[in-house]
Amino acid sequence: MPSEHTDAAADGLLLSARGLHKSFGENHVLRGVDLDIAPGTVHALIGPSGSGKTTVLRSLNGLETPDAGSLRIGDLAIDFARPPGRRERAALHRASAMVFQQHHLFPHLTVLGNVTIGPVRVQGRDRDEATADALALLDRVGLREKADAYPSSLSGGQQQRVGIVRALALAPSMLLFDEPTSSLDPELVGEVLAVMTELAADGWTMAVVTHELGFAREVADEVSFFDEGVVVERGAPAQLFGDPRHERTKRFLQRLQGPFGG
């Protein structure tokens, strides 16, 4: 279940980003990105490689620092006009939790250790309580019996589900997914998408970078199409996939279907 402190602001949004800019050296990667996410909704981010989707998502979690723009998540508001301090970045880490493409589980900790290290060591929760919660979450994704296994002994799909549980256990106000299935064998993709679908149904607020157009179509409440560092087009999935307004969106959707169909 989503944590209680999911606070919508006056505008009814949980997250609102305005005019995010970011350059890596000469490379102007974000060129004014706006993003709005209402509480309890799933927002899909799609677009070609290099268009800045990952950079936006990492900015939301405080792993990347935009050069300009502003961001509000819940009651945390940050203006990137001046670089955020250590405190502000820590607050961003706390506000959302991320599921990485390459999962980045901690290989030297067991599955349970991966899930509880945040709640126990960082949030200072009671170990027994955190363990009980973690086991309940693992149970939900069908991995309770793997609690004492090390990540290296799990399949890719199992690892990714542990990554999701690690994020859930932090009780964030929203979840961020960066192509959570793109490094998985085709047969394992299903099990991860199924878990994500359930979370959406439970009312979690989610931002999902994905190439799985099927998932975006079925599960997302809203889709943003990125290209060259801006949101070119946003809308409900039915509209954006069925009747894309921009030429660039159309071309992208065709290209992704590939030469041999889906």
């Binding site: 939790a97 991320m98 990485f100 980045h104 030297h108 900790l109 945040g118 090390y150 290296s152």
Partner: protein, 218 residues
């Protein structure tokens, strides 16, 4: 081979190992590791002057003979008013030395941990310090055990240099025994065997540690 001499020397030499070589090695290696971690972190801190200090330290320590470092600490520093006893001096010199060599090993090991681990730790809410101690260093340990054991095993034998600053250890005992009879070759071989036994024990520990850390091999 003078077997009687071999037998008679074995006891005192082993005693020298137990009262000198082994405690000196253990103390210096533990301290040296701490220094090495500090220096490695300074080198990769990205803060220019910290990094320069660490570079300078590593360069001087690795670049000059330990014998001279011992001389300077024990016989040189009293001339500027700092007089330390033999054991503290030896431990300082040896651990500074370990610190210099091991810093490079640990630096390489830390850099070998993927950036994603730091990021996952930050995402989970850890400070950089927490990420270092709970996530990165435990993983770096795995990569650095074999080269660190080279350093450790070298140290066992380098402790013999401490005899120039009045520390009595294995090799000094051997030299004493060799002196009256002149049978230095025989006695030195006995000493070598005792060193070898110590190093076998260490190598066994290294194997066990490597296997344990391999539990979670990626």
């Amino acid at each position: 081979m003078n077997w009687q001499l071999v037998l008679d020397s074995l006891g005192p030499i082993a005693l020298g190992a137990i009262t000198g070589t082994i405690p000196l090695t253990l103390a210096s290696f533990s301290l040296g590791l701490l220094i090495a971690i500090g220096m490695a972190l300074m080198r990769i801190s990205g803060i220019a002057w910290l990094s320069a200090v660490a570079r300078g330290y590593i360069s001087v320590i690795r670049g000059t003979p330990m014998l001279v470092q011992l001389f300077v600490i024990f016989y040189g520093m009293p001339q500027i008013g700092i007089t330390l006893d033999p054991w503290p001096s030896a431990i300082i010199a040896l651990s500074l030395n370990v610190g210099g060599y091991a810093a490079e090993i640990i630096r390489a090991a830390i850099l070998s941990i993927p950036r994603g681990q730091w990021e996952a730790a930050a995402m989970v809410g850890m400070s950089r310090g927490q990420a270092l101690w709970r996530i990165v260093l435990p993983q770096a340990a795995r990569v650095s055990v074999p080269p660190l054991s080279n350093t450790f095993i070298s140290l066992v034998k380098d402790t013999s240099l401490a005899s120039v600053i009045l520390v009595t250890e294995l090799f000094r005992v051997a030299q004493r025994i060799a002196a009256p009879s002149g049978e230095f070759l025989t006695i030195y071989i006995v000493a070598a065997v005792v060193y070898w036994v110590i190093c076998l024990v260490l190598a066994g520990g290294q194997d066990r540690l490597e296997r344990r850390l391999d539990r979670y091999a990626v």
